[in-house]
Symmetry: C2
Subunit: 133 residues, 2 copies
DNA sequence: TCCAAATCTACACTACACGTCAGGTTTAGA
DNA sequence: TCTAAACCTGACGTGTAGTGTAGATTTGGA
């Protein structure tokens, strides 16, 4: 075997990131996530960066991006930024995502408030029914 | 024809709400949205309530709810809650959703913080490049 | 009355994001 | 060296959320 310092196999990555190994395979197929190393007979070895990529993918999915859209932007988060060309463009994308996140935070808060008031309403309706029994 | 004051047909509803008429049919099939009236030979007629339901559905979808989950709670927004049966069950659903919303809020906030630090980094890189020009 | 536009039903089909299964290979430790 | 656990590929299956299409019917206006 080759000692690949602090690399992990797909099983560990998948349990750490909370996704199945088939999902990781799938992400690889569509170009979202490559193993750091494919040693010998084909086992995949990942570094911590891969873990962070999975986290970022999950976060972007929650924002409502499709995997295709994620593939289009995720490298922005992991490439050496100083080498990136078109920094202004990247900045614009990041700021658009910030706007989206803020909008979603606002919606979520409203939803949360609605939920709480509905919960209260439900509780008092249930209590009312109990009293008149 | 029957004059149904201020009702609209599926075409108008769909363009107002920004969904296809096929989607509206689909929502009807799964019990999410019923026409106010089915006059004569089967044309569907909708009132403004239907429009608001579609908006609410879109909002809840954005929060990551499935159509099934939406079906389970949407009446709370439009029906007289006192008539709802299975209040305890509904309450449990609402509380689960609150927990979900809170988790999502936390994650989104983290994501937002990351975004901002990335944005700052980009900005200073851009400024740096300008200085050394 | 005639006709184009809108709508109807029903079935089939698609896209996305995985999951399942089968059969084979590799690895690491006893 | 042996073996169980981990991993591999490829093909096929699944759930969700719709979309497409065909052929028939209805509607409202000229």
């Amino acid at each position: 075997m080759v000692v690949l310092s602090s690399l992990m196999q797909i099983g560990e990555l998948s349990s750490r990131a909370g996704v199945s190994h088939r999902t990781i395979h799938y992400y690889e197929r569509i170009g979202l996530l490559k193993p750091a190393e494919r040693e010998g007979a084909g086992y995949r070895y990942y570094d911590d960066n891969a873990f962070q990529r999975l986290e970022k993918i999950a976060a972007l999915k929650k924002l409502g991006l499709s995997l295709d859209e994620i593939a289009a932007v995720i490298d922005l988060y992991f490439e050496d930024a100083s080498g990136i060309k078109g920094k202004e463009k990247v900045l614009a994308i990041l700021e658009a995502q910030l706007a989206k996140a803020d909008a979603q935070l606002a919606e979520l808060s409203t939803f949360r408030r609605d939920l709480i008031s509905n919960i209260e309403r439900m509780k008092s309706l249930i209590d009312g029914a109990r009293e008149t029994r």
